[in-house]
């Protein structure tokens, strides 16, 4: 049995056990912490920084999805400061790529768009980068549109951990990072891809979609992936 610990979340004492993350404990207690890259059933990487929380005695904000609980820890999940930095993290995601929700396959079904509404982001304070990015149409059934990608790496993790195919990786550095297929080849030429569509279903945005869907038509089903992962005994 993992050792029991006690922590405080927003002032309330909650029981937890060693090895759990702050996010797991908070969610189990019915607390909402915004997340984008995290998905129940696959590993956590702390890519999006939406889930940042304050921990007493720690001088910087920590991602709840990757920070393990420690006995006696006191965590704050909602504050002006957190709201401020969560908004900034979200605005960066919009500024870095090309998001035109009105003409996107995922319009009204997108986690990024919904998060902006939830956090009350009505504009982006930074200049947009307007990068020139490709759209990979080479797969017979699916599309990868880098313009909409937030580099959450859910696709990378689900394909490697749940499907066991490991088709995706992140290539490049900094703002030039891109999701790449195999050793950077068109998706249609991937040797391992089983056409399972798991990456499409977990992608929180319109970056991965099925072909043949028009604006607003792409609805994802990431709960199915979470259920499947649970039946197999959780993240690797």
């Amino acid at each position: 049995m993992p050792e029991k610990v006690s922590i405080r979340i927003d002032g309330e004492y909650v029981a937890a056990h060693e090895g759990q993350t702050i996010l797991e404990v908070a969610r189990a207690g019915g607390k909402y912490i915004p997340t984008l890259c995290w998905l129940e059933g696959i590993s956590s990487v702390g890519a999006c920084r939406l889930c940042i929380v304050e921990v007493s005695g720690v001088g910087r904000l920590l991602p709840a999805c990757t920070t393990p609980v420690q006995d006696g820890m006191s965590v704050t999940t909602q504050s002006e400061k957190l709201q401020h930095y969560r908004r900034i993290a979200l605005e960066f995601l919009f500024a870095e790529r090309n998001h035109q929700c009105a003409v996107c396959v995922s319009n009204n079904h997108c986690e990024l768009q919904a998060m902006a509404q939830r956090l009350g982001v009505t504009s982006v304070r930074y200049p947009y980068a307007f990068p020139k990015l490709p759209v990979d149409l080479s797969h017979p059934r699916y599309v990868l549109d880098h313009n909409r990608c937030i580099l959450c790496t859910r696709c990378v993790r689900v394909c490697a951990e749940v499907e066991g195919a490991h088709v995706w990786d992140v290539g490049g550095r900094g703002t030039r990072s891109l999701i790449v297929c195999d050793m950077n080849r068109p998706w249609g030429d991937a040797v391992n891809c089983t056409n399972c569509g798991k990456c499409v279903q977990v992608c929180p945005t319109g970056a991965l979609a099925e072909k043949g869907f028009a604006v607003e038509e792409m609805v994802k089903h990431d709960r199915n992936i979470t259920r499947l992962a649970a039946r197999r005994g959780g993240p690797a």
């Binding site: 919009f94 090309n98 998001h99 035109q100 929700c101 009105a102 003409v103 996107c104 319009n107 009204n108 768009q113 919904a114 902006a116 509404q117 939830r118 009350g120 009505t122 504009s123 982006v124 304070r125 200049p127 947009y128 307007f130 990068p131 020139k132």
Partner: protein
């Protein structure tokens, strides 16, 4: 009661935001009583007036003409509202931003034309290198995203503004 001097401006947008503005049913009557529309596609004024209380801008800043307009607007308006995704994010007009304007115009007016081939040069303002949101050029006091923003959201914004309050939009609107 003193009426609010209201201007509306249509830059690089599809006019959908103005349509949505007109789509607020009887609320528009109540608002009409409280405002003087001093400039915009809905009235005749040719020159942007010297003193305006609220200016609502639809569309991205896309041409030299748009650029001059928003600068004048900012100088002469107490409050500037960016209405709709094109004004807030550049949205669809910004989809040309990866292509240099000259290449874009040639593709459409030379390669893409069967008749009267040639890039129009007279009577049209030069395109800026990129279409940008209004706030990348001048300070914006209020953003109302949406493509178009729903009529109820615009009604709420205007109702608050004529009462002299700044509307708290928070989660009432969304991109797209």
């Amino acid at each position: 009661m003193k009426k609010v001097r209201l201007a509306t401006v249509w830059l690089d947008g599809c006019s959908g935001c103005h349509m949505s503005l007109l789509d607020m049913d009887e609320t528009i009557l109540a608002i009409a009583k409280r405002v003087d529309v001093v400039y915009g596609p809905l009235v005749d004024a040719q020159e942007f007036p010297k003193l305006v209380d609220v200016t609502i801008i639809e569309g991205a800043v896309s041409s030299q003409d748009d650029l001059e307009k928003v600068r004048t607007i900012r100088q002469r308006s107490k409050l500037v509202v960016a209405l709709g995704d094109c004004a807030v994010t550049a949205n669809v007009p910004g989809m040309r931003n990866q292509i240099p304007p000259r290449k874009l115009l040639e593709r459409i007016y030379v390669e893409g034309a069967d008749q009267c081939r040639g890039v129009p040069a007279e009577g049209v303002p030069a395109l800026l290198r990129q279409a940008v949101p209004v706030q990348e050029v001048v300070k914006v006091d209020l953003h109302v995203p949406g493509c178009p923003p729903p009529a109820q959201a615009i009604a709420y914004v205007l109702t608050e503004l004529v009462e002299g309050r700044i509307p708290d939009l928070k989660s009432k609107v969304k991109f797209g």
